[in-house]
Amino acid sequence: MDVKAHARRRRAWLTSWLQVGPMALVLVLLFALPTLLFFVVSFFDYDRVGIYPAFILDNYQDLLTTPATWRIYLSTMRFAVMAWAITLVLGFFIALFLVFHIRSGKTRMVLFLACAVPFWTSGIIRTIAWIPFLGRNGAFNTILEKLHIIDHPLEFLLFSDFSVMVTYIHLYTLLMMAPIANSMAKIDESLIEAARDCGASRFQVLRLIIIPLSRTGIALGSILVFTQVIGDYFVVKRMSGGQSASIVSALSTEIQAMQYPPAAASAVVLVIFVAILVAGMMRVVDVRRELAR
């Protein structure tokens, strides 16, 4: 009897392994092994003509003792935290509006699609769309001048930290809003009524019921926005006008110069950094169980 049950369980495992096999194979071959590879390469030696297998820690030492590294990490973290905070507030309240204030399902669908449609346009084009809008002679300055709010065009709008932030918010608010809205949609309406019945004010309902019950969405959205901003190299390069660099844009410069070992060391440090951040956020919620709820 016991033997039979054991064999049946084995067979069930085999079925599952066959079903997840292709995906596991792709992820191991094209994600895990390449990651391992640059981990190995990060200890290699290099000069102007090539790279040489070795085990040296110079790449890490160079990286971590360069003040520029710390500056870039700090600057990227600053962007990430700001983009996270703003998209969180924006995404949370828009999700709140869509889920709890719109009564007709059709209106909700239309508004949600309206938020999602720009996502289907290439991120590169959405980024550069801000240039004619924010530029010195751009639409925004022109409107303000026509309205006599300002005399001279505002200079800080484009090719500045400001335009980088604006672009991040434009690109990534949906990534925050969608998972939060998904969590909120699972909150039973009667919980809110029960809280009101107990005398909770609108604000107390938000603080004591809605926010705790949306934490899965908040965590997922935070992970997505954080990793997107940390992994970005295009927006910073293009929208800061060369004034700011990001971790990855610095890394990509090294790759283009074929300096693979220092690039690999930098990549390893970045991966560890992201892993710590994400692991921290995953501790808040069991993403897998919550998705399947």
């Binding site: 094209l30 449609v117 290439s122 992994g231």
Partner: protein, 276 residues
């Protein structure tokens, strides 16, 4: 005694949040509208205001292979690559989604591998794969390294979507099919897949869009012939003309059409099901 009352009393927060929503939509579409307008820039106009006349020259330019960029052929390559990515993602994620319904040794490891692949800074994925191809002496190409790099992005997305889809799936339908004498294959083909269809379409659409837009993972492993986003990227780095905006306008129109078509399809599927 009784008095008529305004039917729905909206709380003041409704108006606050509605204004926020309105402002957000304005913020979302404002710059997009500017590029739609500028894509009709006259032949002598530039990438900023003012408009110098009105023309459809830039839309025509998209179709002509230029010196800097060849939009039509890169578009063709992008469509091919995205279709392949989409197909593979659907097959692998649906299979994996079904596999994850049982507990099996290694499930947690695979799940965290997928999460890691999703949150990995994109350029690093390309970097690793590029190094691998270089060490093995393999040539990079559209359907080898680029396809692989994009799968590391679309597969985790597909898997997470399937988790949510499979959770809503009622297993008793499958048990009923078995009880009625269906073979494992008939059960899959006649019961499981049709019931999962809306979710599968979601995975397909998602995978296609993610792949079609991808540049950070692909850029280091594309080989010699660019996809559309990489071609646009090249265009930006060289010199800017309103042709870029024309591409943006066309992309938006095409995605609107695709969304409408998909909505119509899903609605028809639902209606057929409720009628049936």
């Amino acid at each position: 005694m009784s008095r008529p009352r305004v039917r729905e009393k909206r709380p003041y927060t409704f108006y606050l949040l509605a204004s926020l929503m309105g402002l957000y939509l304005l913020f979302l579409y404002g710059p997009m509208i500017i590029i739609y307008i500028l894509s009709f820039q006259g032949p002598d106009g530039g990438v900023t205001f003012p408009m110098v006349g009105f023309s459809t020259k830039w839309f025509g330019d998209i179709l002509k292979p230029g010196q800097m960029a060849d939009i039509p052929s890169s578009f063709g390559r992008s469509m091919l690559l995205s279709s392949a990515v989409c197909l593979l993602t659907v097959i692998m994620s649906v299979a994996a989604g079904l596999g994850f319904r049982r507990r099996f040794p290694g499930a947690a490891a695979l799940f965290y591998l997928a999460i890691a692949s999703l949150v990995m800074p994109s350029l690093l994925v390309g970097f690793g794969i590029g190094l691998g191809f270089q060490f093995l002496g393999l040539p990079q190409g559209l359907f080898t390294s680029a396809l692989g790099a994009q799968l590391t992005w679309t597969l985790p997305f597909g898997l997470l979507t399937m988790f949510a889809v499979v959770a809503r799936f009622n297993r008793s339908c499958e048990e009923a099919a078995t009880a009625l004498g269906a073979t494992a294959f008939q059960r899959l083909w006649l019961v499981t897949l049709p019931l999962l269809m809306p979710g599968i379409i979601g995975v397909a659409v998602g995978a296609f869009t993610l792949s079609y837009d991808e540049y950070a993972r692909t850029t280091l492993v594309i080989g010699s012939k660019n996809t559309l986003p990489l071609e646009i990227y090249a265009l930006i780095s060289s010199d800017s003309t309103p042709e870029l905006f024309a591409i943006g306008t066309v992309t938006t129109v095409v995605s609107f059409a695709l969304i409408l078509a998909m909505l119509a399809f899903v609605l028809r599927l639902q209606r057929r099901r409720t009628r049936g």
